[in-house]
């Protein structure tokens, strides 16, 4: 299951048409901003990583817990404050990678990086972006790339930290 939660988690907008016309502030972005998924700290987290953009005051923390085999991401959470793009992307990130194998989570990171920067060759064809399609507008606003990727870069780092922690526990 790679789809991001399906139709019940995002509004296809008939109301508020103002925002669907807006290339950046798509209804999906606003919906995730208003109703963020997996906000908070993961219980029993294996690692937490911070993504911050001091210049605009964005400060996010991504925490995650691997499953017993340390093969998949059992739970992924995010916390902190960022702009609508940053928070929506964080929310969508947690939906995309929760329950997925580590390798797929890493492919997600590469895919989203490629998607928002217009590097289509980096986008894995088998991963269904779903709500993340709403980030396409970022390509016209390079200033916001860092916002869109803040949680994803933190995820990447947290994943590495979690793996090392679990490997150390195993050998120690």
């Amino acid at each position: 299951m790679t789809a991001l939660g399906g139709p019940s988690t995002s509004t296809t907008s008939t109301m508020n048409s103002m925002s669907t016309q807006n290339p950046l502030y798509h209804d999906i972005i606003l919906e995730h901003y208003e109703y963020p998924r997996n906000k908070g700290m993961c219980s029993g987290a294996d690692a937490t990583s911070r993504g911050a953009n001091a210049m605009c005051g964005d400060d996010l923390r991504v925490s995650l817990r691997l499953d017993d085999d340390a093969a998949a991401l059992e739970e992924v959470c995010w916390d902190g404050h960022a702009c609508a793009i940053g928070e929506a992307s964080a929310s969508m990130m947690t939906e995309a990678v929760t329950g997925r194998p580590k390798e797929e989570a890493r492919r997600w990171v590469r895919t989203v990086r490629g998607f928002v920067t217009g590097r289509e060759d980096e986008v894995a064809p088998d991963l269904e972006l779903g709500d993340l399609e709403a980030l396409e507008g970022i390509r016209q606003y390079p200033v916001r790339i860092k916002c869109a990727l803040l949680a994803w870069e933190a995820l990447d780092e947290a994943l590495g930290l979690a793996e090392r922690k679990r490997a150390a526990e195993k050998s120690g």
Binding site: N16, M18, S19, N22, L24, Y25, L30, Y33, E34, A54, M55, C56, G57, D58, D59, H81, A82, C83, A84, I85, G86, Y141, R144, C147
Partner: protein, 435 residues
């Protein structure tokens, strides 16, 4: 010589003719995202009148030459124009002498000259440096580095509940260990005007010198150094209709004379031998290498432009704009957190705010305003610790200058309606935890 034709059309006893002034600024005719440019980011940098742009072009087209080094005609002319700006600036801020004006790259470099050159030779372990909570990083970070190196301590004058400089709290901080007090003349976030004359009087009584970050005051109001009574004053050309790459440090002659140079090399020397050199007199002692000649010349044109407008009138226009902005924003957008004093006599034309405690992130506000051609700034505005005092990570900042209009304030207010529409559902929710 630039002909200031539009400016000379200003009637001497009347308020400024803003429409006429706007015609002098080519960039104000630009369109952004299909909208007329509404430039409200003047605290970051100001736009340039064609008189300044032309001065730059004239220099490179007709008399570009290195200064002070040759006897040929171009060099003589370039040197004259370069030094003329020094004289114009001295007069503009009522410095006792042009010899006390040092050209730097910007205010930040000017601060570094004071910190390193004066601070480096006057501070002892245990000494205290008094700053304010309002500091721009350029009047904070250099002092941090100095304090660390010298074993000195930083103290911060707090804001009053109405965002003003708390004079009572300041007097509490004064003691014999305080060697220097450094303050912003006008805060680049709050617009707060520091009562420099009073600060200087109190500081001198306590035996401390006074340094003023004048980057946000010099462009916007009359500055009279002799009335202020401070010991050092820094400013930037690009914030006062001049080009980037030039700033100035004014310092009391006796202080500049006893200070060692900051950067050394050519031009700031007198005699050079193999193993030692002597220094040129002040101000040349602080101007190493080839200066930013062209931009200093163009700054001269900016000073002449402002002089012709009259800084009292520039200030009056900005007071009107700021008053209208505060009133309009309060009426149309009561959910805004407006930072800075309400007292218009105590603030400059900088209005920073957040939308309902940051429920809509400043970055998003600025982005949506930009889509409507309105240029404001979002972030901490190089004053991160100050934002901590404001209990927020970032803010939106609109800042005015002489070419802005009441209609542009209306455009800002209208633009915020759009922001609120896009984020309607977020704004309707009960506040949780704030920014």
């Amino acid at each position: 010589m630039a002909v200031i034709d539009a400016v000379s059309a200003q009637r001497p006893d009347a308020p400024l003719d803003i429409a006429s002034i706007r015609r002098d600024f080519p960039i104000l005719a630009e369109e952004v995202n299909g909208h007329p440019l509404v430039y409200l980011d003047n605290a970051a940098t100001s736009q340039k009148p064609r008189q300044v742009i032309q001065a730059l072009v004239d220099y490179y087209e007709h008399y570009n030459s290195n200064v002070h080094r040759s006897a040929h005609a171009l060099a003589v002319r370039a040197s004259e124009r370069y030094e003329r700006t020094r004289t114009l600036l001295a007069s503009f801020i009522n410095a006792p002498s042009p010899d006390e004006i040092v050209f730097t790259a910007n205010t930040t470099e000017a601060m570094n000259v004071v910190v390193n050159s004066w601070g480096g030779t006057h501070l002892q372990p245990g000494d205290e440096i008094v700053l304010t909570q309002m500091e721009h990083h350029s009047n904070l970070v250099p002092w941090q580095v100095l304090a660390e190196a010298k074993g000195a301590h930083l103290r911060f004058v707090p804001l009053s509940p109405t965002y003003k400089f708390d004079v009572a709290a300041f007097t509490q901080l004064l003691n014999p260990r305080v060697k220097v007090v450094s303050v912003p003349h006008v805060s680049n976030v709050l617009g707060t005007i520091t009562p420099v004359a009073e600060v200087a009087r109190l500081a001198h009584q306590a035996g401390a010198i006074v340094v003023v970050d004048g980057a946000q005051s010099t462009p916007h109001m009359p500055v009279d150094l002799q009335a202020l009574g401070c010991d050092f004053f820094a400013l930037s050309s690009h914030k006062m209709l001049g080009p980037t790459g030039v700033g100035a440090l004014w310092g009391r002659r006796e202080l500049l004379e006893e200070m060692p140079p900051f950067l050394t090399g050519s031009s700031m020397i007198d005699e050079v031998q193999w193993t030692r050199s002597t220094w040129a007199p002040v101000p040349k002692k602080f101007e190493p290498g080839t200066p930013n000649i062209a931009d200093v010349v163009a700054l001269g044109a900016a000073i002449e432009y402002l002089d012709a407008l009259g800084m009292e009138r520039v200030r009056a226009h900005e007071v009107a704009l700021t008053g209208y902005a505060l009133k309009t924003l309060r009426e149309r957008h009561p959910e805004l957190d407006l930072y800075g004093p309400s007292d218009l006599t105590a603030r400059g034309g900088v209005v920073s705010f957040n939308l309902k405690g940051g429920a809509v992130h400043p970055h998003d506000v600025a982005q949506l305003l930009d889509e409507q051609g309105i240029a404001v700034r979002a972030g901490h505005h190089c004053a991160r610790p100050l934002h901590g005092v404001l209990h927020t990570a970032a803010s939106v900042r609109a800042s005015f200058y002489v070419y802005n209009t009441l209609e542009e304030v209306d455009a800002l207010a209208q633009g915020l309606e759009v922001v609120k529409r896009v984020f309607r559902r977020v704004l309707e929710r009960p506040q949780e935890g704030g920014a």
